[in-house]
Symmetry: C2
């Protein structure tokens, strides 16, 4: 937990992969107690690549920090009843379910009978409940066919699971909005959120849908050019690469000044009738501008380019691999208060991010490393369901729940 | 407004481009009254491409629906004071500022003296306050060098402004969390959110950062292959293209059944020692699997492929342009309750998205088309600042505020 904005809120997360887990992580870092429920031995994403040498998943542990873990036998009715009991347990801040594994045995329409003020957010692939993942939604949006030099015959998928990220954060926004609403009115909200709706609605909000509906010319691939203004990538003489953006007039003027292009640009404007002070004309004349900046960059070292760009306030960035960023970019280091070094069981010591937001005058709490599976089984049964030690012992004996020693293949020795 | 979860909340948005406007739109569709403040004549993004024939921005109107618009002369101290007054105006639900145009004259550290329970979310490029946009952050994350068949020398930028989208939704989550906190404790929150922190923290949450820190082998470009399991794109005999994902065991078994590959796969497993029932080995053996599925798809029409995939429950999607999606995909049509047809001033009739989330038993309100600039100037001055008609008239006379007739070049005639 980084901040305590959502203190007193308890969220049960039954989840896999990205959308619900990242939604839960976001809420956890803002102060909610997020209890992730998993099958004994781990869910479908528990061993997902990349893994460390011992098989521990960097993917899973990155998405499930700052949460509690309870391991339950989800195949048996008694185990399923335990999950339902956790969701509907009493308490002002409880009664919240976040899941992307919709299932009949954890149906909000039934749970609401036990807890009428239930808040649930069920993330689905498509709105009809059928399966879809980021990749199978993305192909349907039109984005891969305009990425890089792609086309419909030669689409380029985005590597970043951008729709999953957006869906996760739409879910976190919706859950907190429902919490706010419940705090004001006492009423719960049963919510569904489809990954495909995330993609298509954001495509609408960004204007792509209306553009496709109303404009005759379709958006085409532009390589690395920014649409609608000026921006593209350039190589320096020592084979580094930079991305330059001149979207605003100020950014454009900075670029012109940094590259000492004022006179040349005026000549070109006169010759072409374009007015590069407008972003529309910068976009129209992007190849002319690009050729000039390319020439300027290619005879200068990265250091020379960086110095000139920074002196004039150009909006630019340097291409780097994630590893280079980690080694050289202070924004991705523990100098940045958003990041800190933690030690995760089975992973080792590494950099990790807390809440992205920073709040003036509020101390940032530490990131709690991802739990071992079942690390909090007994604590959760005792705290949330008020079970006695004897009752909890019986659940263990029946194999209905497990602590880390049985639940987690990474418990002993190897880690 | 689609739902009334945030009813009674009033947010002043001083914004441009995507991150803050999309955050505001998200909150508006969940029930907040979002008042967008713009300079008379429009801000830096008011004419951004794409535009209709008359120059009206599809981009701006798509991002600013469901909001109110007030146009103020932001260069004069009296105009700036009006904005500050709007932010700090009394009322339980007021006192919320969302901005990605940080400026000294609208500094939350000063505003909080007038309204101690202020909630502010200031979106910046970098955490040190310097400028960055999606493109100049993205290049620094490592993603473009592993997109498609890209590399550090030949990076492929993502077209979707994914970090802007994520930043917007982190902002909406943070603002509502602060509203919840204020409802419980009475205390406000002064928050900052940097676009670069959005990118690097999500990169950390997805495991990329720890992978780069701890694993010897760096992530490389995989074309359209899914990392860590099996998935890629295939052409059909009639030159359509599909994306197939076999991440879970069930998805894998469906693909094997649909393509009738059971026996071949067993033979290959025997020959290679791989066990394709595990996602790790599906990833390892992706070229073998890919060659088989490619062969199967290329001798079948799209219709045959689709029928077989659907019958067996394969997780797949079809590549389409945004326009094709609009013409053929029911998920992007008014059959889907998330979408409806609206008429926007200066744009015309078009499909538009309300809130992505769906709430059981709650009626969806209609999307209110983007306002003309200054459409709500008088209403906002009267409702929020309680100014009289005479006072408002004086502000108009002084040129400090404008209604649509002066503020909006699209007011008359041409639209």
């Amino acid at each position: 937990m980084t901040y305590d904005l959502l203190a007193g809120t308890r969220i049960i997360e039954s989840a896999a992969f990205i959308a619900a887990p990242l939604g839960g992580l976001t809420l956890a870092q803002l102060g909610a107690e997020v209890i992730r429920v998993d099958a004994i031995g781990g869910g479908i994403d528990y061993r997902r690549l990349p893994t460390t040498g011992n098989g521990r998943s960097i993917y899973w542990t990155s998405l499930n920090k700052d949460k509690r873990s309870i391991a339950i036998d989800l195949k048996r009715p008694e185990g399923r009843e335990l999950v339902a009991a956790l969701v509907t347990a009493p308490g002002d801040g409880g009664g919240v379910l976040l899941t992307n594994i919709p299932t009949k045995w954890l149906d909000p329409a039934a749970l609401v009978r036990t807890r009428p003020d239930l808040i649930s957010c069920v993330i689905e692939g498509n709105p009809d409940g059928t399966t879809a993942v980021d990749y199978t939604v993305n192909c349907a949006t039109g984005i891969p066919s305009i990425t890089g030099n792609g086309s419909l015959d030669n689409p380029i998928n985005q590597v970043l699971p951008a729709w999953d990220l957006a869906c996760a954060l739409q879910a976190s926004t919706a859950v907190v909005s429902a919490l706010f609403h419940r705090k004001v009115t006492g009423q719960g909200s049963r919510m569904n959120l489809a990954l495909s709706d995330t993609a298509f609605s954001l495509l609408s909000h960004l204007g792509y849908v209306t553009e496709a509906e109303l404009l005759a010319s379709a958006r085409t691939a532009l390589g690395n050019d920014i649409y609608g203004a000026f921006g593209r990538d350039f190589a320096t003489s020592d084979n580094r690469r930079v991305m330059v953006a001149a979207i605003s007039l100020r950014q454009w003027e900075a670029l012109v000044a940094a590259c000492d292009l004022g006179e040349t640009i005026r000549t070109l404007e006169h010759a072409t009738g374009l007015n590069f002070a407008t972003e529309v004309d910068r976009f129209e004349g992007r190849d002319l501008i690009g050729a000039l900046v390319k020439q300027w960059c290619k005879v200068r070292t990265f250091s020379e380019v960086a110095t000139a760009f920074d002196r004039h306030g150009v909006c630019w960035g340097r291409y780097a691999s994630t590893r280079e960023a980690l080694e050289t970019d202070p924004r991705l280091s523990s100098v940045n208060p958003v990041f800190e070094r933690i030690t995760t069981h089975g992973i080792g010591a590494h950099l990790s991010a807390g809440a992205t937001v920073r709040i003036a005058g509020a101390d940032r709490g530490s990131v709690r490393p991802a739990p071992r599976l079942g690390d909090d089984t007994d604590f959760v049964l005792s705290e949330v369901l008020q079970l006695t030690g004897e009752q909890i012992g019986r659940l263990h004996d029946q194999g209905l729940v497990a602590g880390p020693e049985k639940a987690d293949p990474f418990y002993s020795g190897i880690c």
